[in-house]
Amino acid sequence: MPTSIDMATSEIALRGVHKWYGRYHALDDINLLIAPREKVVICGPSGSGKSTLIRCINRLEAHEQGDITVGGVELGEDDRKVDAVRREVGMVFQQFNLFPHLTILENCILAPMWVKKMPRKQAIEIAMHYLGRVRIPEQANKYPGQLSGGQQQRVAIARALCMNPKVMLFDEPTSALDPEMVKEVLDTMVALANDGMTMICVTHEMGFARQVADRVIFMDRGRIVEEGEPEEFFARPKTERASLFLSQLLH
């Protein structure tokens, strides 16, 4: 599947993308095409640029060279284009980033009401639908601080889904969770993948990658070192760097 994507059919396209933090070369010539409904897992050692890469896709970080196109819109200085992309791209963070001063329901209806100008009643309907899908509708009127980590992360997923995005970005969604809460979040993500959402997920959950991913991308020092289908990548990594990395994982 990866080889058959071209610029015209891709949902997300990165061409020759570079980024520096001062003198540190964070992204080094990234070329990546992602098809609609494709699920991509990005892995690699810490500091390899995985998070920077997906944060460039909704321009939480600005790239300095190359082109990034999302749903046919090119990201650049034009704020309207950036806004258009952000409306189509949902993101889930390692630290959840729920708004602690708002209830779960208010967290979910904030963006639909203020960004999409949706009537409150309709926003609540949609929010309750997605809270139901992540199986916590009964917590709607609690504050984030009253929920467990796993529940908070599921709320964060529901909050992103309320904007009805075409693409979901996950930045190490289970890394900050207690071990017994990882599964409930992964199950939610698997269900989302089965619905055909385009997903890019930075994670070290290899079980999840095997089950869901169409493609695994391995990064090191800001470069894409290796990519392939998960079975192939996990069984027979082509590069020494990737096989060393895989041997250090516990799985």
């Binding site: 909704n58 939480l60 806004d83 952000r86 409306r87 791209v89 949902g90 993101m91 963070f93 630290q95 980033n97 729920l98 708004f99 602690p100 001063h101 708002l102 904030l110 963006a111 203020w114 960004v115 504050y143 601080g145 009253q146 964060a156 909050r159 992103a160 904007m163």
Partner: protein, 323 residues
């Protein structure tokens, strides 16, 4: 050595400690030279003896005060916590009133003037303070956002403003605005000049409070809101500021209370607020201290009102933190 003694005889050590503290307090009161004349007033028969032995009388007086304080301490300790608080407040308030009473004030004069002090002075003080507080809050918000701006010009403006208005004494600012602006052709009357000076000065202090409050909110909150598509101003107004309020309110309440009292400086340009009246109303009958104490008490009452308001607002913005 002493440590071992304390460990072996804890009870004895505690009693010795209490005794030493009592002795130290006694010596302190004696050293301060507190007169034992009050014993004579409570117990007239002792007054001759007191006059005959002044040094011994002073020591006994000091001992009595120390033991009254100790007994009082013990008595308060018997009460539940909330009663202790009320008890301490009542006792100290009574002592304060006794202190004022000792000035031999003319209460008739206070009663005659207090109405005018309130209807003219308090009203002026309050409206100057309230307007200044409102303007200062707006300035602080704009200043804080400017100070966090990446734009060098805006940042430069904000830092110059805070540096200048925090660096000049408020009294000087009032004079400079009231006397200086007419020099460039803009004649300003006393009340607007006072409001302008108070707003600018407190706006500068509060800029720093607001900036610190905004910066105390983790970056993830901005990122979460941005990723959802909220604009920078929506992010600030809907996500960052409501959370920053929890950090901003306590020091801001402090500033409001300070401003209420600093509004008295406006009296130097002849505004008929509380301080100005307190200084002028007593002059005709040489009853300065009456007016000053009355005005002080009014300032205190107003401050208590603000403290109460602050705690209410704090509770409101802190509610999401309750688990």
């Amino acid at each position: 050595m002493i440590g071992r003694l304390i460990l072996t005889y804890p009870d004895a050590a505690r009693r010795t400690g209490v005794f030493v503290i009592l002795a130290l307090i006694t010596l302190a009161i004696y050293g301060l030279g507190v007169s034992p004349a009050w014993i004579g007033r409570v117990l007239p028969t002792a007054s001759d003896w007191l006059a005959a032995n002044p040094a011994l009388a002073r020591l006994i007086g000091a001992m009595m005060i120390a033991s009254i304080a100790a007994v009082n301490w013990k008595a308060l300790r018997q009460l539940p916590r909330s009663f202790q608080v009320v008890g301490v407040w009542i006792e100290l308030f009574v002592l304060l009133m006794l202190f004022f009473y000792s000035f031999d004030l003319s209460f008739a004069f206070i009663a005659k003037k207090v109405g005018f002090l309130i209807s003219q002075g308090v009203v002026t003080t309050l409206y100057i303070s309230v307007i200044s507080i409102a303007v200062a809050t707006v300035i602080a918000l704009v200043g804080a956002i400017a100070k966090l701006s990446k734009n060098g010009v805006i940042y430069g403006l904000a830092t110059f403003y805070t540096s200048l208005f925090r660096g000049l004494p408020l009294l000087m600012q009032i004079y400079i605005i009231y006397l200086g602006l007419p020099q460039v052709g803009y004649v300003i009357s006393a009340v607007p000049a006072g409001i302008l000076a108070l707003s600018l000065c407190y706006g500068a202090y509060m800029t720093e409070i607001f900036r610190a409050g905004i910066e105390s909110i983790p970056r993830g909150q901005t990122e979460g809101a941005t990723a959802l598509g909220l604009s920078p101003s929506q992010t600030m107004g809907l996500v960052i500021l409501p959370q920053a309020m929890r950090v901003i309110i306590p020091p801001t309440g402090n500033q409001f209370i300070a401003m209420l009292k600093d509004s008295s400086l406006v009296s130097v340009v002849g505004v008929w607020e509380l301080m100005y009246l307190a200084r002028t109303q007593g002059q005709t009958e040489f009853r300065h201290i009456e007016m000053l104490i009355t005005a002080s008490m009014i300032y205190w009452i107003l401050s208590v009102g603000l403290e109460f308001l602050q705690s209410r607002i704090e509770a409101r913005f802190g509610r999401f933190n309750v688990r």
